[in-house]
């Protein structure tokens, strides 16, 4: 059997759902960010796979993947800064305890 586009898409769907599970069930904000990183990786696999199989001679998909990696890095930097800020004032990183906005 040959490895085709479908293999990559299914793998990426599984990875995406794993990440989603992490995001939904984790209490620690850092762990939620880890789940998001997995989901972004899944999206990247898709982009590069589409690039390879749909338009192999172009590099558009890879460029998008690079931009997503960039955004993932920015997201991690800003997100973790928020976690630290929350930790400084509330002394917790558990998102269900960060509820001072709840009335």
């Amino acid at each position: 059997m040959h490895v085709g586009l479908m293999h990559y898409l299914i793998l990426s769907a599984l990875l995406f759902c794993t990440g989603l599970y992490g995001v939904v069930t984790r209490r620690n904000a850092v762990a939620i960010l880890m789940g998001i990183e997995l989901m972004l990786n899944a999206a990247n696999i898709n982009l590069v796979a589409f690039n390879r199989y749909v338009a192999p001679t172009a590099v558009g998909g890879q460029i998008f993947a690079l931009v997503i990696i960039t955004l993932a890095a920015c997201e991690a930097a800003v997100g973790l800064a928020l976690v630290l800020a929350a930790y400084r004032t509330l002394e917790t990183t558990q998102v269900d305890e960060i509820n001072i906005m709840k009335w």
Binding site: M1, N41, T70, A73, Y87
Partner: protein, 163 residues
């Protein structure tokens, strides 16, 4: 044959640690488990002949983002070894949602006819990407630097607080 074998190995290297990431009770271990998962994705990029993206994946995800995550874990309560409950009460719901979504996506995927293009990838991946960035995608290229600038400033302001 070889390609399929490599794909299966890489898929396992990607998915198994990913499951550890989302289920481990030790958050530091969860963060370290990201590394094999990222490396598995790197291998997939190689298999797709996206060499440059693979190099960047290691450099940024393994060498930078994971380090950043570990730093924050060690700066907050995660690093103290205090054993906190790591998951909330949504575990069954989350598992159901994830499995259902995976099911739906896979059904949709297998019922779609995907266009297939012909041709072989450019031999020098990095050169092709460089050319594309400097010509067709130059706006994205310059816009990224703005995004980076904004997130740098934003993160510094947020992380420092009002010292």
């Amino acid at each position: 044959m070889g390609e399929l074998g490599a794909f299966i190995v890489l898929a396992l290297v990607t998915l198994i640690p990913a499951v550890v990431v989302v289920t481990s009770h030790n958050i530091v271990r969860a963060a370290f488990s990201l590394v094999p998962s990222f490396l598995g994705v790197t291998g997939l990029y190689i298999l797709l002949q996206a060499e440059f993206v693979a190099g960047i994946q290691v450099l940024i995800y393994v060498g930078a983002i994971t380090v950043l995550l570990l730093f924050v874990i060690m700066l907050t309560e995660g690093g103290t070894g205090v054993r906190l409950r790591q998951v909330n009460e949504q575990v069954p719901l989350g598992a159901m949602a994830a499995v259902w979504l995976a099911f739906v996506i896979i059904v949709i995927l297998t019922r779609t006819v995907w266009p297939v293009g012909a041709g072989s990838p450019p031999p020098y991946n990095a050169t092709a990407i460089g050319n594309a960035f400097m010509t067709d995608y130059v706006l994205i290229f310059e816009a990224t630097s703005l995004v980076l600038l904004v997130s740098l400033i934003g993160a510094i302001v947020t992380a420092r607080g009002e010292e």
